[in-house]
């Protein structure tokens, strides 16, 4: 697998390092004072953040209502398991499709808009979905949440794995993460990726060259909501329930913060770093002090004031001097 032609375009060194760290994580996570479930959530939010950054970092479109699609994914997963049949693949496909459907409809309203009007419409639609999730409580369970969602076995034709332990679930979400990373990496380095980056630079000029800007904006939004749906579906598996809070404006704001803190505006890996830092900080601060919100807010402020390009940006600046040799563990990743 290592020496295919065009390998470099598909798999890069940072990818291998990232995958190696994440694959080995269950072996050391307890000894650094963390716990496996946290790893599951972090990887899920990494998928969510990567999809979100396609919109924010690459296309320059701010959405403050993305939690809605994450939530739709979670509910779609749960409802399909509870009312159709217990199947991971059915659940995740439902999660992706329903989130993307919601996203596609909203994107049709959004894609003629820009800047603050774009952002505000995403908030308005996000609030509508959030509101419906509470109001439609006969289906969603309202504020009590959709509970007792089964975590079905992973069936890949010839074999079946139980995902009931957090370790097993972790490797499953990690496998999906790997697929998403490779897929997105290809996408942003394809002609499609070039066009969306051009839209970020100058939307009007991109239109003049002859690209259908509306269609690109629409498709990027839909794609990113599909990934949010996938992440939401996995989140429902992890929590074995789905709650309206992930759809709230607050939760939608946190994904923006995560991506910006990590450095999504300047790096493909920004969202991955951001999700990890966000959850680690929250978990460590949350257990260390009751006033964690204060330190958290100060962290955001300091970040913007001193390193606005985010952690990935700061890192890029740091290693610019020379390509520091990283002693990465080059385990082939075949999961």
């Amino acid at each position: 697998m290592n020496n295919n032609t065009g390998f470099g375009a598909w798999i890069t060194r940072p990818m291998l390092i990232t995958f190696a760290i994440l694959v080995s994580l269950p072996f050391w996570i307890d000894s650094v004072g963390l716990y496996q479930y946290l790893g599951v959530e972090i990887v899920i939010w990494m998928v969510y953040a990567l999809g979100f950054n396609l919109l924010l970092g690459y296309t320059g479109l701010p959405s403050f209502g993305h939690g809605a699609y994450f939530g739709i994914g979670a509910y779609a997963f749960g409802l399909s398991q509870l009312h159709i049949t217990e199947s991971i693949w059915l659940g995740l496909i439902c999660a992706i499709l329903f989130a993307a459907l919601g996203g596609a409809i909203v994107a049709a309203f959004l894609s003629h808009r820009r800047g603050i009007y774009y952002a505000l419409l995403t908030i308005a639609f996000g609030q509508v979905f959030w509101f419906l999730s509470i109001k439609w409580h006969t289906v969603t369970g309202g504020e009590d949440g959709l509970l007792n969602i089964p975590r079905p076995d992973l069936n890949i034709g010839f074999a079946s794995f139980s995902l009931s332990s957090n370790e097993a679930l972790y490797y499953f979400v990690l496998a999906l993460f790997v697929v998403v990373v490779i897929g997105l990496w290809r996408l942003v380095h394809s002609p499609y990726g070039t066009v969306i980056k051009a839209i970020k630079q100058n939307e009007m000029r991109t239109g003049f060259i002859g690209y259908n800007v509306w269609l690109y904006k629409w498709s990027v939004f839909t794609l990113s909501t599909a990934l949010a749906g996938l992440a939401g579906g996995m989140f429902a598996m992890a929590q074995e329930s789905a709650y309206p809070d992930v759809m709230s404006l607050h939760a939608s704001g946190f994904i923006v913060m995560m991506v910006l803190i990590g450095g999504g505006m300047v790096s493909f890996w920004g969202p991955v770093i951001g999700a990890a830092v966000y959850f680690l900080a929250r978990d460590l601060l949350g257990s260390a002090t009751e006033t964690w919100l204060l330190w958290y807010g100060l962290m955001f402020m300091a970040m913007v004031m001193f390193k606005p390009e985010g952690i990935a940006g700061a890192w890029q600046g740091f290693i610019k001097r020379g390509d520091a040799s990283t002693d990465g563990d080059k385990k082939p990743v075949t999961r």
Binding site: P62, F109, H112, R113, R114, G115, I116, Y117, L120, L121, I123, A124, F125, Q127, V128, F131, K135, L249, H250, G253, V256, M257, L260, M265, T291, L293, L294, Y296, G297, L298, M299, F300, M301, M303, V304, M305, P308
Partner: protein
């Protein structure tokens, strides 16, 4: 006919509510319009205004020597008026600190200003919790504007009409300030052409400092006015940010008149759905926004803004 008789009180109530919404959006609009900063700390500063006012009204004998004792002896109305002036000034000073932090973000993607103020919102909310506890607090209003009166066979809150009237006055004063004074002219010039302002020899960073402080003080003023209606708790500001946001977009970014009209429109919509389909009352304002923005790209009276890029 019966329907009309039933509807009239709700129209009146909706307009009063709308004026309150316009007041909530006023400071937010000024900062967005002039500085193109989306101040997400608007809500926390709104709350902070209420807390400061509560402190100022609730000074107890012996806190500040003879001057304090003289002040405590004043009638409730006088202390309340003090709070209406001093509360916003105190919050304005906090705003100045925040503006200093914001300076690095000017000229960059507006997302950075938004991220920084989001962080500031958390910090201020937590500081309120540390300072005053997380419990419900109460802002005392003087007897003259408390209580209720009967009109057309229905009971109405005196305070609500005072608050609506106060909003009208505040809106007119801010408008006069912006349109009829040289300071207003400079502020508006800064909004549209910062190079021009600099060429005229006006210190732009000072201008921004004062505009931000002024906008934040207006947020605090709204917080003081709303506290007796919404109550006072550390996270009360969350309830103010979203309507403020919605109103300035509905009215069109940068349009003063637009924001006021949008505020009243939102008030009427919420008020009337509240009476006839109350379960949809909160949703109605979002649907209103979606409908308007679908047909009018820049809201009701919007002009072109840097925030569109």
């Amino acid at each position: 006919m019966d329907f009309l008789i039933n509807l009239t009180p709700h129209l009146v109530n909706g307009i009063a509510l709308g004026l309150l919404f316009a007041l909530i959006a006023l400071g937010f609009m000024l900062i967005v319009g002039v500085m193109e900063v989306i101040n997400l700390a608007h809500g926390s500063l709104f709350a902070l205004g209420g807390y400061f006012a509560m402190m100022i009204i609730g000074v107890e004998p012996g806190w500040f020597g003879p001057l304090g004792d003289w002040y405590v002896g004043l009638p409730a109305g006088a202390r309340y008026s003090f709070a209406l002036v001093l509360g916003p000034i105190a919050v304005g000073l906090v705003g100045m600190l925040l503006e200093l932090c914001l300076r690095g973000t000017y000229g960059k993607d507006p997302l950075f200003g938004l991220l920084l103020t989001f962080g500031a919102a958390m910090v201020i909310e937590e500081l309120i919790r540390i300072g005053w506890g997380s419990g419900e607090q109460f802002l005392q209003t003087p007897p003259a504007i408390s209580g209720a009166f009967i009109w057309n066979g229905l009971i109405w809150s005196t305070y609500r009409f005072f608050a609506a009237g106060f909003s009208v006055a505040a809106i007119i004063l801010v408008w006069l300030f912006l349109e009829r004074t040289p300071y207003g002219a400079i502020i508006k010039a800064g909004a549209h052409d910062s190079e021009m302002v600099r060429a005229l020899g006006i210190n732009l960073s000072q201008l921004r400092l004062y505009v931000f402080a002024f906008g934040v003080a207006l947020a605090a003023l709204a917080g003081i006015i709303m506290a007796p209606i919404w109550g006072l708790r550390p996270h009360v500001g969350v309830d103010a940010v979203i309507p403020a946001f919605l109103i300035i977009v509905l009215g069109g970014v940068g349009s003063f008149v637009g924001a006021v009209i949008a505020g009243v429109l939102v008030g009427l919509t919420v008020g009337i759905t509240g009476a006839y389909a109350s379960e949809w009352s909160l949703m109605s304002m979002y649907l209103l926004l979606i409908v308007v923005i679908t047909f009018r790209a820049r809201g009701l009276f919007g002009k072109k803004s840097m925030l569109e890029n």
